[in-house]
Amino acid sequence: MSDHWLLLSPAGAFVVAAMALFVIDAADPEGTNGTLLSAVASAGGLVAAVASGGLLLSGAATPGVELFDGQLVVDGMSLIFTFIFGSVTALVSLASLDYVRGLPHKAKYYLLVLLAATGMSLMASANSLAVVFVALELSSLPSYALVSYLKTNRGSVEAGLKYFLVGALSSSILVYGISLVYAATGSLLFADVAAGVGRAAADYPGVLGIGVLMIVGGFAFKTAAAPFHFWAPDAYEGSPAPVSAFLSSASKAAGFVVAFRVFTVAFPIGEIAGETYAVDWVLAFTVLAVVTMTVGNFAAATQENVKRMLAYSSVGHAGYALIGLAALTGVGSGATALGASMLHLLVYGFMNTGAFLFVALAEHWELGRTFEDYNGLAREAPLACVAMTVFMFSLAGLPVGGGFLSKYFLVVGAVGAGVWWLGAVLAINSALSLFYYSRVVRAMWIEEPDDSRDIESYPSALYAAVIGAAVVTVLLLPGLAVFDVAAFDAAAALV
């Protein structure tokens, strides 16, 4: 039993840090010691990341260990994603030290971040539809509040409201889908659902099919996949930039980890769309992947606002990651694409977080929002601009960071699963993304600054977070070797 608690230590780190923040806030509600709050929150994230990374590499969770009568499972995939959540939480908490320095309710801010992270780590381990729903709500409710944290800022409040309304709608759709699946199969545990799904597909194909499609829809909302993405640009643009980083990296990855587990474990495609046909969710995800990456990238290419461009690019990357599910066609080994998808979300956790944190830095300097406002920035802040260049080129799939490898792994996965045309769609989108990502780079390095702006302070915590994310992004190019075996093994264990 002690082993079990050890396996839950990453989630425990989030909880302990959250409780510590509660206590600090209760003891000294008027306290302005942001450094302590940020340090506690960052430490919580860091411990969670180190613990999950250590457990992953030690092989303690291979094969997966079921806890609480199978309600939770800790395996390679859950640890990889908990590592992402921990890293992103640490980076965001560190960067927030400077970002929320002068704002009220700082303790609540960090607390909400950690509670959301707790929910995400449970999502990664959820092994029954009930736990999925509860964990999803645990991560979503703090997120709504975080988006509207700048409560005197109209944009922030509007974004929060929009995010909340759309999120509530998607949660209700998801929970209704879950109830239909329960009606058809008689269970909420993934293993039992999987056992009953073949029979349910024969007896109640309509109920099961609609239930599964509603679950697909619920996850499409959470991962900001088109056509359910329209909340994302507004929410990411209106939120405080560190929160945008948190949501677009960690929250999105949480949506994916649940989708990976639910569909591969609970709804085996051979049973649900084989001889007895209820619904072909691989086809549904193929359509979602193509639409999402195309919509995201084309919309990103037309933006003038950097943060909004990043928001749409985040939609595009959701489309790339969906290839992991769309490639489970049964031809070749779908595990390659699924593993590549996990690796992409891992690298994305660093490069996308870093990019949004750079925007936080720009907001801190009050530079403005458009590409033109970044003109010539490299002359004043060369180090931060090198970091941003790394993020942009890594997101675009150039070999300055791990995003290069993970993106091409996805192409390889698609080709290997016989859906080479999906790889080709990714290729076209990727070339387009090079155009808009390089606009940021061009502004920083090539354009001349039109007026002399005044950058007085270089906020050290925000800088440390941006540089740290860049260093990890670069190191993940050779260093993807640390995670690749774990990711492909985790994927192979699922399919």
């Binding site: 390659t336 390095w445 492909f488």
Partner: protein
């Protein structure tokens, strides 16, 4: 570990130079870039490889360890050189050093960043030619784009932003097409390979182990992959009709970047064609021999005609590269000893000669601030040494005996004429040889208008002498071109040894 040491020197040097103050950056970069030159020359002197690295030859300076897993395949860190790649590594290091020296005059702002990018590019280029695992090779292949984007975008001419992004997106799409084509082959090979190593894949393909991929049969798969890779590499080479990015990139790029672009980056395309298409899929190449030869000959003639029509000296040199690369393609598709060997030799020769011409145009531009042929006349009067070098470079291009261009073109024509793979080989060769006449036409005409006659210069009439550090690199290149032309054996032995295995296949094909 010698290759890794060279790459590391370039990368560390790049970081140091980036942080150095501008007045030191140029000299520091020159000193750093001399180290890989020494290293590559040592590797040349101590070269003990034999045969083709992909076909079971002895690989020199080999490093091998496990790097990544990619689903069912291992990705290894596998580097090494053979008689094809070693000359190209030497070319890269020498040309980078000379290009850095030639940058001293034209580059006068953000010098630390400029030289750092040059060194970063050198590291990537060495990697491209030395990597023997597909994914590792692809990392370096794409990494080259990043410094080139900045070199064109920051230090380029008036339309530099357009040229930089065009170069970037164009070549990136090409890479993606090629990537999908190649992995079609990898998955088609199924269990017969366990890694993405190029030797394993090449040998498995040549042993006929390609199977079906999903509904696509092996023959259709091989043909589709061949086409995807050919198109991907053809953009880089470039051949007509994929050449439209080249004049923009060249004209806007600063001189040292043009030197690297024409001298080494274009060779990446032909090197990859040789390593992938022509080594791994010879039967598909033979099937498509006529269309490929047509592409080659059209590039030769059309590129030369485009050069003839230009009024900008740099554009003349830029389009002439399209023409010269056509010869490389023609030599490759011949599948004879002199054809493939000559094509490889031409990569080196053209690297030196086009580098020389771009640098010379740069020296003239530094002094006169114009490249328009109509604006200048009688430049030989004021810049006798530079003009002499230009004439030498032009004659090397036309194939004057005892210069590198002569040896290369002679090999290619000999090889192409006797090809058994290419139907109507003598006809294609004859048409291609006619390209030389046009080359002579545009170069002599351009020189006659700009270098000779009475001295005139728009807008201001007086120019100074070219400084020593402008003239030194071009004189060095002339010496190297004559050396390679008089003693082709310097590289021919190892090139021939590394390409002879390919020829045998070609002979069996028909």
């Amino acid at each position: 570990m010698l290759i890794e040491a060279l790459i590391l020197v370039c990368l560390v040097g790049a970081a140091v130079v980036a942080a150095a103050p501008d007045r030191l950056a140029g000299r520091l970069a020159l000193a750093v870039s001399a180290l890989p030159v020494g290293g590559s020359l040592y590797m040349y002197a101590a070269f003990d490889g034999s045969g083709n690295a992909l076909l079971g030859g002895d690989i020199a300076y080999e490093t091998f360890f496990r790097w990544l897993s990619l689903g069912p395949y291992a990705v290894n860190y596998h580097m090494g050189l053979d008689g094809i790649s070693l000359p190209l590594v030497v070319l890269s290091t020498v040309l980078t050093m000379l290009a850095i020296l030639s940058a001293w005059t034209p580059v006068d702002e953000r010098q630390g960043q400029f030289y750092a990018l040059m060194l970063f590019m050198e590291a990537s280029l060495i990697g491209v030619f030395a990597a023997l695992d597909f994914l590792l090779w692809f990392v370096f292949w794409e990494a080259v784009l990043v410094p080139m984007y900045f070199l064109i975008g920051v230090w380029g001419g008036p339309r530099r932003k357009y040229a930089a992004i065009k170069f970037f997106v164009y070549t990136n799409i090409a890479s993606l097409v090629m990537f999908i084509g190649f992995f079609g082959l990898v998955f088609g090979l199924g269990d017969s390979i366990s890694s993405t190593g190029l030797p394993a894949i090449a040998q498995a393909l040549r042993a006929g182990q390609l199977g079906a991929l999903g509904p696509v049969g092996p023959e259709a798969l091989a043909l589709a992959s061949f086409l995807a890779m050919f198109v991907g590499f053809a953009v880089k080479v470039p051949v007509v009709p994929f050449h439209t990015w080249l004049p923009d990139a060249h004209v806007e790029a600063p001189t040292p970047a043009s030197v690297m672009l024409a001298g080494v980056l274009l060779k990446m395309g032909t090197y990859a064609l040789l390593r992938y298409n022509f080594t791994m899929l010879p039967e598909q190449a033979a099937t498509l021999a006529v269309p490929i030869a047509v592409v080659a000959v059209v590039s030769i003639i059309y590129g030369a005609l485009l050069a003839l029509a230009q009024s900008d000296l740099k554009r003349v040199v830029a389009y002439s590269s399209v023409s010269s690369m056509g010869y490389v393609i023609l030599g490759l598709i011949a599948y004879t000893e002199f054809g493939i060997g000559g094509a490889t030799f031409q990569m080196i020769a053209h690297g030196l000669i086009s580098g020389l011409l771009f640098m010379t145009v740069g020296v003239i531009y530094n002094a006169s601030h114009t490249r328009m042929i109509g604006d200048m006349s009688g430049m030989a009067d004021r810049m006798p040494v530079t003009a002499g070098v230009f004439v030498a470079g032009a004659f090397a291009y036309m194939g004057l005996p005892l210069m590198a261009g002569f040896a290369a073109e002679l090999f290619i024509f000999l090889g192409a004429f006797g090809s058994t793979v290419l139907p109507a080989a003598p006809l294609f060769t004859a048409v291609a040889m006619f390209g030389i006449v046009i080359v002579a036409g545009y170069l002599l005409w351009a020189m006659q208008r700009s270098l000779f006659g009475p001295f005139e210069l728009e807008p201001d009439d007086e120019i100074g002498r070219a400084p020593l550090h402008d003239v030194a690199p071009i004189l060095t290149l002339v010496v190297l071109i004559v050396l390679l032309g008089s003693v082709p054996e310097l590289f021919w032995g190892m090139i021939s040894d590394a390409t002879i295995d390919l020829v045998a296949t070609g002979g069996e094909l028909r």
